[in-house]
């Protein structure tokens, strides 16, 4: 916010107040997120600043302790599988919704969106109840299915948003130039909407990788994901592996965020 040359003293004070406010807000928003990063490099087993000497012992712990390692691997496996499944189901559905015109489309949309609206606790409890009934309680498959259900709406939304901007005459042009429908889809439609599909897949991965509540109900000890493991250890003031885990999650989140921003740029570059 620039200070206009005609500003009176109170106006100048006002502008400076707003600038100070913005600075404090940035500190409030970004500050807390990074506080545990230095702790994760401490070599003392205490949740305590200042740090006397640095080491990588907690990262070592993260990848060698059987519990933590299993949690990391579980998280990666579940998030990857759920993201792939959600992307396949979500892209197909987004396409169908884009092409089809039928009564009750709104109702179908409502069904697809419910997982985004229902509070996580209710989702977790319900799916725990249902998965146990069909013998999928405490299984990886059960957790993957649950995360797929939660993530698929995100894929539908992002892909639908890209499709709504897709110019259908491109498909006509492809057909006119001799491409059969499948080729036209593969060579023309998919590359143009690829950014939306990738964005959806990233959102799905992030959702699965970040989820605590649903996994807390559905996962048995063998399926424990990284966030669940962290949640269980949250009140342990001695073991700082959790700070290393949080740092790893933070770095991964940032990578996913950069990925999505990159996709946005790419989309702008190909948009009409």
């Amino acid at each position: 916010m620039r200070i206009s040359p005609y500003a009176t003293l109170p106006q100048k004070v006002g502008v400076w107040t707003i600038r100070l406010f913005a600075l404090l807000m940035c500190l409030y928003l970004a500050g807390p997120i990074v506080v545990f990063i230095p702790l994760s490099f401490s070599d003392k087993a205490l949740f305590h600043y200042p740090i006397q000497s640095f080491s990588l012992r907690w990262y070592h712990q993260l990848v060698t302790s059987p519990e933590w390692l299993r949690a990391v691997l579980n998280s990666l496996a579940v998030a990857t599988s759920a993201s792939v499944l959600a992307t396949i189901l979500g892209v197909a559905a987004a396409f169908g919704l884009w092409r089809a015109r039928f009564r009750g489309k709104e109702a179908v949309m409502m069904v697809i969106m419910t997982p985004m609206i229902v509070p996580a606790v209710i989702s977790g409890v319900s799916m725990y109840l249902a998965l146990a009934k069909v013998g999928l309680g405490n299984t990886h498959l059960g957790l993957i299915l649950a995360h797929t259900a939660l993530a698929a709406p995100l894929v539908v939304i992002t892909v639908s948003a890209t499709l709504s901007k897709f110019d259908t005459t491109l498909l006509r042009a492809a057909a006119n130039l001799g491409a059969n429908p499948l080729t036209a889809f593969r060579r023309v439609c998919l590359p143009v909407i690829a950014s939306g599909v990738f964005t959806g897949a990233i959102f799905a991965f992030a959702l699965s990788f970040d989820d605590v509540v649903v996994a807390l109900f559905i996962a048995g000890p063998a399926q424990r994901t990284l966030p669940v493991q962290m949640y269980m250890q949250a009140n342990d003031l001695v073991d700082l592996t959790i700070t290393a885990a949080a740092t790893v999650m933070l770095v991964l989140s940032l990578a996913l965020m950069v990925g999505v921003e990159f996709m946005k740029k790419r989309e702008v570059a190909t948009a009409r």
Partner: protein, 377 residues
């Protein structure tokens, strides 16, 4: 039979109530440049889309080289098309766009490379093959679209308002370029536009569409000098249309009365036998103006008052009012009217019988006719 495309009784309706195209019969000859001209909503684009295969006729059929297209999907028709907004693939380079139709036809790589190069040369874009469409100007994109539509050597190329997005100057140079490509390749071209100037300069033949049907089909000269009805007379070029009462028809001529101004003799237009109401059509450049005192030798001669004078540099237009209140415009060389072309001046106007015609009145395009009624017509 040398018609490469034949529309046979083609009708199209989207809702079952109103016809977008009505009983269209049209032969397109091999190698010609045919333009479908008409106001928006006249059915010209739909007719083109049916030929390309993006719309299906509700009834009737379209033949290509004597074979029905009813069961041929768009990608098997081998008809090139330039879309209104070009529809270039944004994720491919210019070369990749042009190579696309050859790739999906599984041509060998060497041939593809060679033909893409030739196509780029043809539209003078040899140096821009590596660019993305969005990095090109409108005119360049347009040329890529033309090159892409022609590279697989289709027998027909369709163009749907291809110059609509360009500015005026670029449009004129692209008109000449498209025309010259057409002449060089000898390809049959079907061109859709609502711009009559574009149609007149480019086409071998023009089909004038209105309300889903063809009003007149002919060469630009025919359409201009011998419009077959009041709609065409009004749609192509400028025309003065004045209501009149038809008195007598004899052979190719008829006599009528311009109320309050006097009798008029004109060519016979499209009047029904016995029809008494009509409109006289005479083009401004055919209207001669003389000082009031001068004798006019033309068959049709009236006295008029000048209401306005508009100077255009190479010509001047006078807005005139006849004694009976009819209004018309004349167009003449500035030096010819210098002495008497003054507002309020009385003068004599006239035109030859061969330069005017009497048509059945059609003040404005009739509303779309419901199918149920059309079938009884």
């Amino acid at each position: 039979m040398d018609a490469i495309v034949r529309y046979s009784d083609v009708s199209k309706t989207y809702d079952g109530v109103t016809s977008v195209v009505r009983n269209l019969n049209l032969d397109i000859e091999e190698g010609e440049f045919l333009t479908m001209l008409g106001p928006s909503g006249s059915g010209k684009t739909t007719s083109l889309m049916m030929l390309a295969g993006f719309e299906a006729p509700t009834s009737g059929e379209i033949l290509l080289d004597g074979r029905s297209l009813a069961r041929v999907p768009p990608h098997r028709r081998d008809i090139g098309m330039v879309f209104q907004n070009y529809a270039l693939f944004p994720h491919m380079t210019v070369s990749e766009n042009i190579a696309f139709p050859l790739q999906v036809r599984k041509r060998p790589a060497a041939e593809i490379e060679q033909r893409v190069k030739r196509a780029l040369d043809m539209v003078h874009l040899s140096t821009l093959g590596g660019r993305r469409p969005l990095q090109l100007s409108g005119g360049q994109q347009q040329r890529v679209a033309v090159a892409r539509a022609l590279v697989f050597e289709p027998k027909i190329i369709l163009m749907d308002e291809p110059l609509g997005a360009l500015d005026r100057q670029l449009r004129e140079s692209m008109q000449l370029e498209i025309r010259s490509i057409h002449e060089r390749l000898g390809v049959t071209a079907v061109y859709v536009t609502h711009d009559q100037g574009e149609a007149l300069t480019m086409s071998d033949r023009i089909a004038i569409f209105s309300n889903g049907a063809i009003e007149q089909l002919g060469s630009p000269e025919e359409l201009y000098s011998r419009p077959s009805n009041a709609f065409v007379a009004q749609f192509i070029g400028e025309n003065n249309l004045m209501p009149c009462a038809v008195a007598r028809t004899s052979g190719l001529e008829c006599e009528a009365e311009l109320a309050g101004s006097g009798p008029v003799r004109a060519r016979y237009g499209d009047l029904s036998p016995g029809q008494t109401d009509g409109v006289v059509a005479v083009r401004p450049e055919k209207v001669r103006v003389r000082p009031k005192s001068a004798m006019d030798s033309s068959e049709n001669s009236f006295s008029a008052v000048v209401e306005a004078v508009v100077f255009f540099g190479d010509h001047v237009k006078l807005a005139l009012r006849l004694a009976g209140g009819q209004k018309l415009v004349s167009r003449s060389l500035p030096e010819d009217t210098a002495t008497f072309g003054v507002v309020g001046q009385e003068l004599t106007v006239g035109w030859n019988t061969q330069d005017c015609a009497i048509y059945a009145p059609r003040s404005r395009p009739a509303p779309p006719i419901p199918v149920a009624f059309a079938s009884q017509a």
